[in-house]
Subunit: 310 residues, 2 copies
Amino acid sequence: MNLGVCSSCGKRSPIYFRRYSGVKLCSTCFKGDFIKRVRRTISRYELLRYDDRIVVAVSGGKDSLVLLKVLYELEQDFPKSELLAASIDEGIDSYRLDSLRTLRKIANALHIELHELSFKDLYGFTLGEVVKLGIAKKLGLNPCTICGVLRRKALVTVARRLGATVIATAHTLEDVVQTYLLNLLRGEKNIRPIGLRREAEDVIPRVAPLRLTPQREIALYAYLEGIPFQSKTCPYTHESMRDEVRNFLTLYDYKYPGSLYAFLNMFERILEKIPQPDEVNRCEICGEPTDRRICRACEIVLSIKSLLKN
Amino acid sequence: MNLGVCSSCGKRSPIYFRRYSGVKLCSTCFKGDFIKRVRRTISRYELLRYDDRIVVAVSGGKDSLVLLKVLYELEQDFPKSELLAASIDEGIDSYRLDSLRTLRKIANALHIELHELSFKDLYGFTLGEVVKLGIAKKLGLNPCTICGVLRRKALVTVARRLGATVIATAHTLEDVVQTYLLNLLRGEKNIRPIGLRREAEDVIPRVAPLRLTPQREIALYAYLEGIPFQSKTCPYTHESMRDEVRNFLTLYDYKYPGSLYAFLNMFERILEKIPQPDEVNRCEICGEPTDRRICRACEIVLSIKSLLKN
């Protein structure tokens, strides 16, 4: 099969075909284009400011390592900005240890301060304990739900300690669209834009610079940049509702390329028109923003602790 | 397995288990409940008025026959309202002829005037011709798209001729949610509530009294009322985008009962907050409301006619 030449430089052989636009890119142009898209995403949604103190949430998986690498490149142009990395160790035995090792190596090579915080230090228990002691089951929660909520909270804690002005997460195009569709199918009351900068007093905004970047391009970029893959899968992964939504959307977007972008653009155009409340409600325990009286994280931590005592 | 007794009458044996609510119903209570839900849907969304001249769009399939039967029952309480039926023959050989025969029998038994209009009479061609002559393919449209757009237009034409104040269609809970999700995945610019009464000058509103009724309950009601099933499948059915969305949503709602309701309620709560334009734009050719200069139906008819000439 003759693939012709790269649509961008018109010289080298393409290694990537972008199905929804018909563009073919060589590895050099692909890498350039990849970074350009993240830069454009940041500027289109005004995700970052020139003087931000950014904490990048890194798990050690390819998405967050790629985010760290790209933000590192982009940040060179903004001498007043600062880049830090934070990693939350939820305590899943060997799974997390492996990825932490990779992470430390990469942060070190890029001279980025890496701050680590564990569930054990922060909450007094590990996710491993919660699962093994049958507490997750007793609470009727799957481990992914507990992990997601508590990691998010732990991240805010580190970010506050570090005086961050913004948290950057590695949510991808797929993550964002999956979450929107899940929100609809679960009838979530307050659907808010995901990974966009929402300013409010004493709230550290969370942004997702990879929100327009599809998974396959992240994987390819990681490969081309020699970023090591996390080969192990989390032993607790079975958040089935998201799995089904993910499978459907993956197949659908494969058959009708561009559908994820269409969904994201359309849905966010709709969300934009909905007035968002100015006032932020606060959790009675931790003071972080929440729609409830007590935030979901504090609620889960309290339930786990009371079950651990008995 | 002991199913216990009907949750409603507490006496008879249940024949239906409503998974999302845990309610078990006997056949008598199911039928009563079925009609009650349609009545509640009509009143919740103010779909019909006491003095409406209603044209029911009937295809001869079970959904539209059930709608006709239920509206017939409900309409007895509103002597000032009138009920008519309209059927569009798109010209798919034996497929349509079968369902038309059933339809005529039922309309006759209920003493409801049935008005028939064919693509051939209205547009000068049948859908069968358009497919057989390869015109659909040349236009890059699948037969379902052509059929859907032109049936909708034909229906408005009959309704105008009959002086209808409202058109009732048999869109079900599944149809509505599928269409919303398809709208998102296709990036449709103007997503509007489906099957809700939208009044505008010189526009006949379209309403869907079965918009909260799931398919399986319609099938059961049809069975219990002895409404004959259309056994043949349309020979052109292969609207694959909708098929995939349908399959996903069906499986998802089976696993997580109530998801379709959650989606519908959530999404419509969002749509509600979006201001709808008061002014209606009109097609330059037919004068019917459209977001474009020339409506999709007129555009398709023109393209087909020009290809038929050559």
